[in-house]
């Protein structure tokens, strides 16, 4: 270890004695590593917002829409309540909520606003009671629909956050809205549902309301929201079968985050291209190191000769030059990684990206720089070791 310390000391003395040359041979690794690190970093960071959003949403929500079993949209397809129960019993499924959107109902904040609001229909959705859990969305104020509401078919409603703002609803205010001419008491406001933005301006009722007030024959949903934290994709494939079981009812499923997920994937081609360019810069840098160090060996031949005379073996001389290359590679790697990280930070600031930079990536590319420099140093150092001291010292 002490010997390695001495080698590093000699290398640093040799490198600092020729600062410009050292700077120039370090440029190769610095530029190569900086190019690779910044290209990858910028590429990742430009998708950073999407990735952050995905993390927030989770990618385990499945939406199943009713359709008839032969795949078309026959009249009034439904998912029978018992089919929804079957889905809920699947091992990977943690939560299922069925909904039914009621049509042709005009919802108003108050009677006199009919003309205005007729033009902007508000979705009215009959839902199971566990919608907030399945969608993983909290209440802004008040409460969600509960068993008592369901059992008594009480005329109470929960509204989405956008609708609450639209109607000028004040938190926990005692107030009603008109749903198709009937007064419903507002008991709570649901927060934004990122995976289903249409719910933000919706009115939620119980299935009991749907049957009692809106002529719905059976409390069967047309859509299921399914949480399956494990094997999400597998569950999405299985749900149509589980729903239909050979009967007339069917369903198709989708995972709404799939599109987002695809968008958030880093462009592999672009990445490969930039890595190729950075790799080329590194190789050119390595050739530069080999070249300049070979010349340096000739210029320093008398130093090499005297070191041999002082008892340094050929191996030690080779190590000395190899360690010089190593120091160049390490410093080049550190500076390059730092510069690359700086560029990523700068671009992220300017473009408002969420900066993503993997520390292991910095480390890995820094190591590549070290490897390139050491390989580049092999030739000059063997050349140095092979010098005959007698020829370099010009005796007598």
């Amino acid at each position: 270890m002490r010997r390695f310390g001495e080698l590093v000391g000699v290398a640093i003395a040799g490198l600092t004695a020729r600062k410009i040359r050292t700077f120039l041979i370090m440029l190769g690794p610095v530029l190569g590593v900086a190019a690779i690190v910044s290209a990858i970093g910028i590429n990742e960071s430009s998708k950073g917002d999407l990735k952050a959003k995905l993390r927030e949403l989770g990618t385990d929500l499945i939406v199943a829409n009713a359709q008839d079993a032969i795949g078309g949209f026959g009249s009034d397809p439904k998912i029978p309540a018992e089919a929804a129960d079957r889905v809920a019993r699947l091992p990977d499924v943690t939560s299922v909520t069925g909904t039914l959107q009621l049509s042709n109902i005009v919802t108003l904040p108050f009677e006199a606003a009919y003309d205005y609001y007729r033009a902007f229909p508000v979705p009215v959705i009959a839902t199971h009671l566990n919608l907030p859990e399945t969608m993983d969305v909290p209440m802004v104020s008040g409460r969600f629909l509960n068993e008592y509401d369901e059992a008594s078919a009480a005329r109470v409603a929960v509204i989405g956050k956008d609708l609450a703002e639209e109607y000028g609803y004040i938190a926990n205010e005692q107030r009603s809205i008109q749903v198709g001419g009937l007064d419903y008491g507002v008991v709570g406001v649901l927060d934004y549902v990122l995976l289903e933005p249409s719910m933000d301006s919706a009115v939620f009722l119980t299935f009991a309301n749907a049957v009692e007030d809106w002529d719905v024959d059976e409390p069967d949903p047309t859509r299921l929201y399914i949480r399956a934290p494990t094997n999400t994709r597998y569950v999405a494939q299985e749900v149509p079968t589980v729903v239909s079981l050979g009967g007339p009812d069917g369903a198709n499923t989708r995972v709404p985050t799939d599109l987002l997920d695809a968008q958030s994937q880093v462009d592999e081609n672009l990445n490969n291209l930039t890595m190729l360019m950075g790799g080329l810069a590194l190789i050119v840098g390595g050739v530069g190191i080999a070249n300049v160090m070979s010349i340096s060996v000739i210029q320093r031949s008398s130093e090499i000769g005297i070191r041999r005379a002082l008892g340094h073996s050929r191996g030690t001389i080779a190590m000395q030059f190899l360690v010089e290359a190593l120091v160049v590679g390490v410093l080049g790697g550190i500076l390059g990684a730092g510069a690359g990280a700086g560029v990523v930070w700068l671009v992220s600031e300017m473009r408002d990206y969420t900066m993503i930079l993997s520390v292991s990536g910095l480390f890995r590319w820094g190591l590549v720089s070290v490897a390139v420099a050491v390989v580049a140093g092999l030739y000059p150092s063997t050349k140095a070791a092979r010098l005959e001291p007698l020829e370099t010292l010009r005796l007598g």
Binding site: E6, A13, G14, R18, I306, R308, A309, L310, L395, G396
Partner: protein, 231 residues
């Protein structure tokens, strides 16, 4: 009789492959502790070849070179280098200081890779510089020193390892008379009962300072004269 430090036995050195140049032919020489010897001879007489072989920087084509009885011609490079570093100190005509190192740094170079701490290296190097009267110049670079001073740094570098033999190649060749006298005085002071000094020169005055003179011609020793009373 004093201990044998460095011995050549029937040593020949030939250069070239097709046209052979016999730089040294069947030379035998025994350098003993306490000796101050000079090797003299005209250009091409084999002095430099002899110095290279004595310093184990070169290997003979045939014959045996031993340091304190160890045959160095059979050793691998690492061993031979270690032995060279510990047994022999070099002083060159052109000083051969490393230009980017300070005086102290140059002296310290001789103590590298010996398992010494930085502090030990500095202390011993400073002591060696003190011995040649240059401790006050330890942080100057060679370019800031006169030729005489550079040669004294080189001498400090040669003796800091406490070698058995100090080999000097025309140590005063690049110096003016005053500095040359100064350097020779230091050499005379380096002589001790445990150490030998060997100076290769064609300067008569330098050769006369020695107490044993080896004269060479055409790759052979033609005379081995004892000048002083010391043996």
């Amino acid at each position: 009789m004093a201990e044998s430090l460095l011995t050549l036995e029937g040593v020949s050195r030939t250069y070239g492959q097709e046209v052979l140049v016999h730089a040294l032919r069947e030379v035998s020489l025994d350098i003993r502790a306490g000796e101050f010897l000079s090797i003299v001879g005209p250009s091409g007489s084999g002095k430099s070849t002899m110095l290279g072989l004595l310093g184990v920087l070169d290997l003979p084509t045939s014959g045996v070179i031993s340091i304190r009885g160890t045959d160095v011609t059979k050793l691998p490079d690492a061993e031979r280098s270690r032995l060279r570093g510990s047994a022999i100190g070099f002083v060159f005509q052109q000083f051969h200081l490393v230009p980017h190192l300070t005086g102290l740094g140059n002296v310290e170079t001789a103590l590298l890779y010996r398992g010494l701490s930085r502090r030990e290296r500095r202390e011993r190097s400073m002591a060696a510089l003190e011995q040649v009267g240059l401790d006050h110049r330890h942080d100057h670079r060679p370019i800031q020193m006169s030729g005489g001073e550079q040669q004294r740094v080189a001498i400090a570098r040669a003796i800091v390892t406490e070698p058995d033999v100090v080999l000097a190649d025309e140590p005063t060749g690049a110096l003016d008379t005053q500095n040359a006298a100064n350097v020779m005085e230091i050499f005379a002071g380096l002589c001790s009962p445990e150490r030998a000094i060997c100076v290769v020169t064609h300067d008569r005055e330098v050769a006369d300072a020695a107490d044993r003179r080896i004269s060479m011609r055409d790759g052979r020793i033609v005379a081995d004269d004892r000048l002083g009373g010391v043996t």
